[in-house]
């Protein structure tokens, strides 16, 4: 099986996130980046499928400026065979349609059996890229995948539905799956893997310009002007005051 895994570099959960003075994005210099959480699970799943079948190829693909080569190397160190870096400088790559078309362009010649992406990215949280890529490349798609069974030119996947329900669906190949966190235990890169990663290929491609339909206007820290009011007095007085507030100020009664 030939599997592509989309990995994204995102600010780590514990990273400082100061807003840039232009209010378009965070100040990147202050950010500590990590691999997007669900992408890490997607990568592990791909590596396990390859290892179980003792054949195949796992190719990681990522979009962004030069700094993202850090997560690409990390994925190679964990065992991916080679990488494609779609080089793009804009940080506010906020339009999932544009993002997906860059990926689709880079992926279509390669004829992958499976394309894995994380369920969503921890920065923008659009949760659309993998599904749109599947559509663009005419592949079967499934989102929120919790388990995968391969065999006989088909795959069966377990999807997470609402309220604790799950669904098993069969898909024909090729397919694009968006992977939910928690379906496996991602490995650490071994030192041997880290040392070996520098010998692996990272193909850098420049994408064709695509018009974005969506862009970031402004980001800011929400401010709240709510106030806490302490109600005092006898029980009757307090109840009366509360009802007055519900009725006239909050208008819930």
């Amino acid at each position: 099986m030939k599997i592509a895994v989309l990995v994204k570099q995102v600010p780590g959960a514990e990273s400082p996130l100061p807003i840039h003075s232009n209010q378009k994005w965070v100040d990147e210099d202050a950010v500590a980046y990590v691999m997007n959480e669900s992408d890490n699970y997607a990568l592990e799943e791909a590596l396990q499928i390859k290892e179980a079948n003792s054949e195949g190829e796992v190719v990681v693909i990522s979009l962004g400026p030069d700094r993202i080569q850090k997560v690409i190397r990390e994925a190679l160190a964990k065992g991916a065979d080679r990488a494609i870096h779609i080089q793009i400088d804009t940080v506010g790559a906020i339009d999932p349609l544009a993002t997906a078309s860059h990926f689709a362009d880079a992926l279509k010649e390669e004829n992958f059996d499976l394309i894995f992406s994380g369920l969503q990215s921890d920065d923008f949280g659009m949760a659309q890229t993998g599904v749109i890529i599947g559509e663009m490349l005419g592949m079967a798609t499934a989102s929120l995948v919790m388990a995968i069974e391969t065999g006989g030119g088909k795959i069966k996947v377990k999807r997470e539905l609402e309220a604790g329900w799950f669904q098993w669906v069969s898909l024909s190949l090729p397919a694009s799956l968006t992977i939910q966190s928690g379906l496996n235990t991602p490995r650490y890169p071994s030192l041997k893997g880290i040392m070996g990663a520098k010998k692996k290929e990272i193909k850098v491609v420049t994408p064709n310009p695509v018009e974005a339909n969506q862009s970031l206007e402004k980001i800011y820290v929400p401010h709240s002007d709510k106030q806490t009011v302490m109600i005092e007095g006898s029980v009757d007085q307090m109840v009366e005051k509360l009802i007055h507030t519900f009725r006239n100020d909050i208008k819930v009664l």
Partner: protein, 390 residues
Amino acid sequence: MKNYGPDFYNITDLLTEEELLIQQTAYDFVQTEFMSVINDHYENATFPMELVPKLGELGFMGSSLPEKSGGAGVSNVAYGLILHELERGDSGLRSFASVQGSLVMYPIHAYGSDDQKAKWLPGLGSGTKIGCFGLTEPNFGSNPGGMATRCKRNGDDWIINGNKMWITNGSVADVSVVWARDEDGIVRGFLLEKGMEGFTSSDIHGKLSLRASVTSELSMTNVRVPDSARLPNIEGLKGPLSCLTQARYGIAWGMVGAAVDCYNTALDYSKERKQFSKPIAGYQLTQAKLAEMITRITEAQLLVYRLGRLKDEGKMTFQQVSMAKRNNCAMARDVARIAREILGANGITEDYSPIRHMANIESVYTYEGTHEMHTLILGQEVTGMAAYDS
């Protein structure tokens, strides 16, 4: 270092991409697999043996040695960063890696026969075998040259008699590197195997420092080994001393990890803990403590970084290692104590790491050459006069 604590002088910028990824891996491993179990092991005075194969799989055992010697061929700075992260967890974890890599794999790699290398290095590197290093004796600590353990030629064999004290991993080791003096007074190294006739061990109990580490006494009564158990390519005290140089190098890095953990804990706490009108971080006395800590940590980081690059270039001297070991142990000891002060009463509980580090550092301050012995080594280096008898 940037993501994981103070990096006041941007030392992270001097690290390679690989070194950073190696540090991240070690950090993630320790935080995920080790921090949840350390307090129980510390309390019960046990070591999490189940983690040893994982450490091996990741390549953390003897990682700067070449692959054919069971290592991973990483730079000495990368090796230092791994020990930094292990000791951020606990000195017991770092001690395990130091002994295995620097005191057992290193001498077999540097002085062993091909058969010895083939027999031991793959298992030691993958964490399926454990090693220990026996130099110190009940009556010879700072002065190992005086050792009483004897090896005597007997036909093709050697007969070994003596006791070794304070031996990390002594009772759990599959192979023990034991140093003994022959009839001509020459110090020789032997690889003794667990279960050999006359070779026994017993653990030292009641330690209030380095509790999450096995420390034992080894006893040899007429232990008979073939000459093939002797390390063939070294003789004299420089054998064990060269191993200690390797281990001390790693300790100097490890101490920064312990200090950083104390500093981070104290800094966070001082910003949260309010007394009188504001967080205690807002008071000058607390700030003086934090300023002192970050300065001493930064000095220590610069020492080990430069030392590591010198080692990578093959230019490191043992006196330079003495300076880093001496300085960084003293630094970490002070930082742990100041961090504990800032934590107030909370600082005396296991809920916060500084007091555990503080207790551990007492061992690290003493082993691998006490603070005083490194002072004398530096004194000799700058004056040309030895203040101890050799």
